[in-house]
Point group: C2
Chain length 325, copies 2
């Protein structure tokens, strides 16, 4: 494949002039520009971007770290990221890590290796301190609430959001409230769990460990959870479920069992997914798309040097009242 040198030779100009044309620099006479463009056309030339990346030290690529892409939560954030990346003419490298720390570190290494200009960590198994070790190599941003770290973040306050959900249930007269969670050790999961336990304590209600369930990730898990609860001697009258799709699985199973919602069991979901909308699920919207979009915009500012200090951007959650409570 032809290179810039050959274009220069054939067009009868210097490589510098070719480079100028390629990068739309001023100070190139119209006839030389035309000659270069024609030669480029004629030889079907195209730049080797790796050389450009090497010399400029930039790649216009941002990596995204998440465990699985085929979950509504992640793919909606990704959509927001991708939309903004498209606008900014950046590329996203999707790093589906399956929560394996080794793979997550791999991505951070890419930052060191100059393969990418920045990293968005949507969800990770790494400790914040480990992430912080890489901040020197380029901008990093997480979509979790990690406190005042050396890397940026865009987040919603899950503690307050959960608290609002619990308050809402309490206001509706519920005093027996259960809780369904996906991961047990996740950064956000832990925050939500704390919110739940704190709430019970403040209310002076006992903690029923059997009303708390971890590992509820799929629709089927939601259905199974309902059966588990029904088998208990004493059971909650309301549930807070992290993940609308899990709540949906539970609700549909409840219908099959001719359980009425909310009369027999009230449910609040989390994330505001389409399936919840369809089922009339009361839920808490976390602005996932906006989170992705904002994350990219903030990271871009840092890549472009317009912002040098870590930024911590809070997004507002919103309780969406429907008919499941």
């Amino acid at each position: 494949m032809a290179n810039i040198k050959e274009i220069a030779r054939i067009a009868g100009v210097s490589v510098t002039t070719v480079s100028r044309v390629l990068n739309n620099h001023p100070y190139v006479s119209p006839d030389k520009r035309a000659a270069v463009l024609q030669t480029i056309e004629q030889l079907n030339y195209s730049r080797n971007m790796n050389a450009v990346h090497l010399i400029t030290g930039r790649t216009r690529v941002v990596a995204v770290v998440l465990p699985f892409i085929n979950l509504f939560y992640f793919s909606l954030i990704m959509e927001g990221l991708a939309h903004e990346a498209l606008l900014a003419q950046y590329r996203l490298v999707l790093c589906q890590t399956n929560y394996e720390p080794e793979e997550e570190l791999h991505v951070l290494e890419m930052l060191r290796n100059k393969e990418i200009d920045g990293v968005v960590i949507v969800s990770s198994a790494l400790k914040p301190e480990v992430i912080e070790e890489f901040t020197g190599y380029g901008p990093i941003l997480t979509c979790q609430d990690n406190g005042p770290r050396q890397f940026s973040s865009v987040y919603v306050e899950h503690y307050a959001a959960f608290r609002e959900g619990l308050d809402y249930l309490a206001a509706k007269g519920h005093t027996a409230i259960g809780y369904c969670e996906g991961r047990q050790q996740g950064s956000s999961s832990l925050i939500r769990q704390t919110a739940y336990r704190d709430f019970l304590q403040v209310q002076g209600w006992p903690v029923h460990e059997e009303w708390i369930s971890f590992g509820c990730r799929t629709e089927e898990d939601g259905a199974a959870e309902l059966h588990r609860l029904l088998a208990l001697n004493s059971r909650p009258s309301a549930l807070l479920i992290a993940g609308d799709h899990v709540a949906a699985g539970l609700m549909l199973e409840a219908r099959k069992l001719r359980l009425r919602i909310p009369e027999d069991l009230a449910v609040i979901g989390f994330d505001n997914q389409p399936i919840g909308r369809l089922l009339g699920l009361t839920t808490i919207d976390n602005q996932l798309y906006e989170m992705g979009a904002t994350a990219f915009r903030l990271l871009l500012r840092q890549i472009q040097g317009e912002e040098t200090e870590p930024v911590h951007h809070k997004l507002e959650y919103r309780l969406i009242e429907r008919s499941s409570v």
Copy 2:
């Protein structure tokens, strides 16, 4: 940041030796290797991959072209792709194109520009002939049935799959069958539409254009479609709906209206999504995850030169009987 030259100087060896250590080449004496490794550690050195990409002409990056990531269909294929990419130590660049041809061309340009080693086109607005113009720059693979093209493909026969769905409905006694589609002009959409029209013709049934609907993409669209059909004078007794989530929206709306499924209206979905499983939706499974995984594996073989001719790999669809027919 330190470079290979500095490592060589400090370790007291040549850059070649450092490079050999970096790439685990044999023929390096243990003591020199140790010296290099220690210096690397000491200087916190890491490779500039852009230089590696430039000289090797490879990047271990594959681009994925799709319109939106936040649709079950696409994100499941992406999951399959990502899983295999992880295994092969390749990276995926997600190019969410919103079906804009300009953006899709951009990605193919990346192949010319040596930024990526290959392209997977999951769904695209480009004509196959346009894609073919880029096959000289590196391996390209689509997830659509484009016939014997100069690029590879992994696909399911939507024509046959739809035909099987229609046969199934007919076997159940339905003679008034409607059809819901997402895009009107998409490559797969056109194939399915042909299958539908051909089927009616073979059966000798008239085509009711008002039983055909395009632009049904969301759950809400499904619900709206039901209302549209109910307002007709004569309406179908069964529906074939491309996309389980759309079918789900319709089914849940039917429940609200106290319409019985399948007695009042039979429904077959497409894609086998979790929501369909939950609702007892009879559907056609298209092996989306497997499609992504297979796509990556095939493309990788071509990148590695183990396969030089375009490959066309057919995946089997499967009708999943549940209770909506």
